[in-house]
């Protein structure tokens, strides 16, 4: 097992000069940013997932690395103590529309949104949706509302990399972007039969 991993690593080992460039890039990065508003230089400190996904440079990471990332991130998900995973879809819709939050230009007191429409189609009434992520229109209608679907949906919003290593989607719960209640409300936007997502 260890041997296989070692071979896999060797297979995508970087050349010496590439490593030089990489360390140069890290040094340059640190000198090229300054703290502003709520965004300190700590935001340039990468965790394992960020580091491994960056090094892949847009290509898929190895199966082993992906499994490691997913396992580590799955362990971070905190499900609500009250066991209720589905909140208010109306507030979820507002959060899906809200693009502000965590930028150095944003008020640290909020609002902070999920900005879901930036990347996903969600409802038929909002034409201005992005396509970086898949369409989520009729997400709940297609999947139902079983306990498993609720857990997956809440968990995916909480930490997307638990299910897809190097996902483009932010880890809203794990990184403290959205509160537990806000994630419940987004879960409701996706799953509630009354939500415009499921019309």
């Amino acid at each position: 097992m260890l041997t296989i991993a070692a071979i896999a690593l060797a297979g995508c080992a970087t050349t010496a000069s590439d490593q030089e460039i990489a360390s140069k890039a890290t040094a340059i990065l640190k000198q090229s940013f300054k703290p502003a508003g709520q965004a300190g230089l700590d935001r340039l400190e990468q965790d394992d997932a960020q580091r491994i996904c960056s090094a892949a440079a847009g290509k898929p990471v190895s199966r082993e690395a992906a499994a490691e990332i997913e396992k580590a991130n799955l362990a971070t998900i905190r499900y609500p103590a009250d066991g209720k995973l589905v909140g208010d879809w109306r507030n979820g819709e507002k959060l899906a529309q809200e693009g502000r939050g965590k930028q150095f230009s944003d008020d640290p007191r909020g609002p902070v949104g999920g900005n879901c429409y930036a990347c996903h189609e969600l409802t038929k009434s909002e034409l201005a949706f992005g396509t970086i992520g898949p369409s989520l229109y009729q997400y709940g209608k297609a999947r139902g509302q079983s306990a498993d679907v609720q857990r997956y949906t809440f968990g995916k919003i909480y930490n997307s990399e638990a299910f897809a290593a190097c996902s483009n989607m932010p880890r809203f719960g794990y990184k403290g972007i959205l509160s537990e209640q806000q994630i419940k409300d987004l879960t409701a936007l996706l799953l509630d039969p009354a939500s415009p997502v499921n019309q």
Binding site: Q103, N115, Y117, A128
Partner: protein, 157 residues
């Protein structure tokens, strides 16, 4: 289309006369200054008020007014290109009105004889709205409209 419109118009005939009388009292004396600015029209907060301010009364719907180089969707409400062309003889003025803006009237252009009755400019739109092109031709007023949708572009931040 024509027959239908006439029917509607006939039924509204009585209301028209009342409105005419009211409008007659609103005609403003010629401003003595070379550069006048029609404050009451620009302050108007509805289409009806703006038309009153312009002393336009009840303009007739006209197919001889066209929106040209005017998209149906604006990528940003801060800059919405609007072109208005009038095929009405003796067009003297063209005005652009935006129904759902805080102030309805956006611009008025006086067209000198010899100048083509077509103007192109850019306006701000607070939200998706009907945009009206009002034309004064040979002393009479005509109107046409077009809905322009304002979308949210960019990253949302």
């Amino acid at each position: 289309m024509d027959g239908g419109r006439r029917a509607i118009l006939r039924s509204a005939g009585q209301a028209t006369l009342v409105a005419l009388a009211a409008a007659a009292g609103l005609i403003k004396p010629e401003d003595a200054r070379a550069e006048g600015w029609n404050k009451s029209a620009f302050d108007a907060r509805s289409l009806g008020e703006a038309l009153k301010g312009l002393a336009a009364g009840e303009p007739a719907q006209s197919k001889d007014i066209a929106f040209v180089q005017t998209p149906e969707i604006a990528e940003n409400g801060a800059v919405v290109p609007i072109g208005v062309a009038s095929a009405l003889a003796k067009t003297e003025a063209i005005a652009i009105l935006i129904e759902k803006n805080p102030n309805t009237l956006a611009a008025v252009f006086d067209i000198a004889p010899g100048t083509e009755a077509a103007v192109f400019t850019r306006v701000k739109m607070a939200q998706t709205s009907n945009v009206y092109a009002l034309v004064k031709a040979d002393g009479r007023y005509y109107i046409a409209s077009k809905e322009i949708k304002v979308t949210l572009g960019g990253c949302g931040g």
